[in-house]
Symmetry: C2
Subunit: 510 residues, 2 copies
Amino acid sequence: MTFPSRVTLFLACIITLSANAQSPQQRVRQYRQTRETALMDEYRQFLTIPNVSSDSATIRQNAAFIMQMMKQRGIPASLLDGVKPGTNPAVFGEVKVPGATKTLIFYAHYDGQPVNPKQWAKGLQPFEPVFITAPVEQGGTIVTTYKSGDAINPTWRLSGRGSADDKAGVMAILNAYDALVKSNIKPTVNLKFFFEGEEELGSTHLGDILQKHQDKLTSDLWLIVDGPRHVSGKKVVQFGVRGDVNMNLTVYGPKRPLHSGNYGNWAPNPAQKLVNLLASMKNDEGRVMIKGFYDDVTPLTAREKQAMATVPNMEAALKKELGIAKPDGGGASFMDLMMIPTLNINGIQSANVGPMAGNVIPTKAEAVLDLRLVRGNDITRQIERVTEHIRGQGYHVLDHDPTDADRQQYPKLIKITTGAGYNAQRTPMDLPIAQEVIAAVQTTSTDPIVLTPTAGGSLPLYLFEKHLKANVVSVPIVNYDNNQHAENENVLVQYLWDGIETLAAIMQLK
Amino acid sequence: MTFPSRVTLFLACIITLSANAQSPQQRVRQYRQTRETALMDEYRQFLTIPNVSSDSATIRQNAAFIMQMMKQRGIPASLLDGVKPGTNPAVFGEVKVPGATKTLIFYAHYDGQPVNPKQWAKGLQPFEPVFITAPVEQGGTIVTTYKSGDAINPTWRLSGRGSADDKAGVMAILNAYDALVKSNIKPTVNLKFFFEGEEELGSTHLGDILQKHQDKLTSDLWLIVDGPRHVSGKKVVQFGVRGDVNMNLTVYGPKRPLHSGNYGNWAPNPAQKLVNLLASMKNDEGRVMIKGFYDDVTPLTAREKQAMATVPNMEAALKKELGIAKPDGGGASFMDLMMIPTLNINGIQSANVGPMAGNVIPTKAEAVLDLRLVRGNDITRQIERVTEHIRGQGYHVLDHDPTDADRQQYPKLIKITTGAGYNAQRTPMDLPIAQEVIAAVQTTSTDPIVLTPTAGGSLPLYLFEKHLKANVVSVPIVNYDNNQHAENENVLVQYLWDGIETLAAIMQLK
């Protein structure tokens, strides 16, 4: 659609006339302040729709809900769908602004990580959002008295899967636009909206979608709204992301679980084998011992180094908050460690612990590794380095459960499967339109904006470069302590409100 | 009670007169063959009562069921109870045989290991026993057509928690006695029965029970019916057991789960710390690297070495069946490895694997270790060696979750708790009454009986020595491939029948 003309906005003008003396940011804020209950009711409803990426039925309910949100805000919406059977659709929308010469496309994703409700704190359910007074890990409690229409304390958090990562992006983008429309402020740029539905699967089909719909998806800049603001609370503009891929390892023991007394010392224990293997990969300082693991890292540019030097150092506060006496990294800084690849054990399991533990030699042991990649790393090469290391520990590598013949032939058997993944991406810091974004965000904050060459987290941004030759920067809006990807995920209410103001400012790019 | 007099058995004599020309073993067998359905119906009913040691309500239902079984067989039964609040009762019974000068006390335990129904094969439930044609791991299927009264194929297995470990002992002991009574065969020894209810908890209160009831529990020999026959299928008499204790380890990471991208390389990962710790304990050959771990082992006597030399070597068959190309132990034999202590990872867990895995740095990582002890080891000393090793890896050891102060002070924190446990026990092989047991068992088998100085498994038999100055030997009856302590536990039907004959023979000790 085209941005509403002056004529159609006549009524809105009358209502908001008194506000016109205020700054655009003040008018956006006032708009939000008068509608907090309605905005939050809608967001809570959005969060009740389960959004685990693998469940295509509920994923499509989320897409339909977003289309409805867009329709209510006058944004024509459509599904970018059908590139391959089973692909979760992206939701697309577009607003043409008369006189605008640039086009910004705003990105967020509406799918979420898997949930294990048992791991969530008492009273919290992944898809039953409630307000909490603070993170539950810091003694926060549920605001049991809250009902729709009550005043919402901006220091509260709203809990639920996706509340921060990344339905918050969808919520803030659409309400930033709506705030401008309802406040009679004309964006300076044409706007496009792109909401992905399988980011947490590793954006399996994003490349296909971008390629198929490249005519629709042209822009001067992709503006990514995902991830947290700086740990200091300062707003941040990020120029890149790490790449990411998971490796699933399964080591095999006896074909049936064995009594640990009758077979102990003789039957190999797959949990012992797996811990020995994983220990060979990384030392107690957090240094990866795999040959060549750090070799391909592209050095930072002078401009990037300069930006890095201005990032506030929050390590002392983080150590206290997280209960960490000594970080990994052998003394390197938090930011320096973000500029190199990682190898992280996401999870490990063999048989049972706690009350369900039995005195057994288990049949298998499993671990999931997360590899983050930086500029210069290649996903295939990095996976091969880890695999080669595993071979070097005497393992025969399979892509399937072992057959009897495999078991008879090889003393050490491992199944390795890898998830979908992608390389890192980094945009030059001196790109003119990126400088304009920094300036716009700076208008909403008295603190200096934090500029980082890369986020710690990952998004498949390299696909935008590859398929669309697009420029990309990220403007994260949520609190850093949001438990994303884990139990008790939450978003700080004030940061949602701030996010609306930040994104509205970007829509008025000079 | 006293064994039934000739007069009261007059009717039974008439009925079984034709059988009197047969051997006692044949008569016991015939008794069983005519009553297989009834015996198995009762046993299946017994197995439907959940028996996880920690659930005192269902444990008492099991005890009541056993009392009823004993009453139906004319054995006066009572609970040895109330030594401490919450103690699971032992069930006791006694039969005095006119003219007998020796007393044997038969032991089995009716409690079972914890269950995780999700780990059981499709169609198998821990407390819904069904017949299977073979181990499910070897392609066995459920005999869905079976109904009470049908002929029972002796090559079938009956599935369920406790089916082998160790309700099978209760079943075979009571039916062996019943078979003698109903076949009009007088035992040659006074009989006592002792069925324990917290063996799988580490026999926490067994010492208290033995001490409180020592007058009732005098005997010439404790006859332990628990554990499997030899892997070759041969019957076995064992002269000792290993000791056992569990250690639960919890290593701590950040206070809340962290995004692996935003904090990876900086926040210590407790799963990595734990795998590094466990890897430092044991190498890939299965050798424990903890200082002094193998130091205290009492050497075998000449008689024990001689018995060991005659134990059939089943390693080739086991390797094939279990899918093991190369056993642990650096070339030492299965039996030699049974004569030294073990350190086994029963289970390990941190966060999630599989579809529920997220890209997180977990807050903690847990493992359960099982330590088996042999003659010469002391439980306290062995635990301290492991703990000292952990300290040597830089850990500060706690017995509680860390406080904030602990977290700020110590880079590496671990919580260690230990379960109830006990030392090993070994009876001299040349003990006269033990020789009589061997001879009795030998009457039921054309194969030579396998004699082993110790079982691989554990029972708190040292308590019988300590509190009662008793002699102890074990006569295991179930199949070795019974999945005891794990999912899909099962007992081979023929071995239940054999067990009845074996124990009936021991009740007729010369």
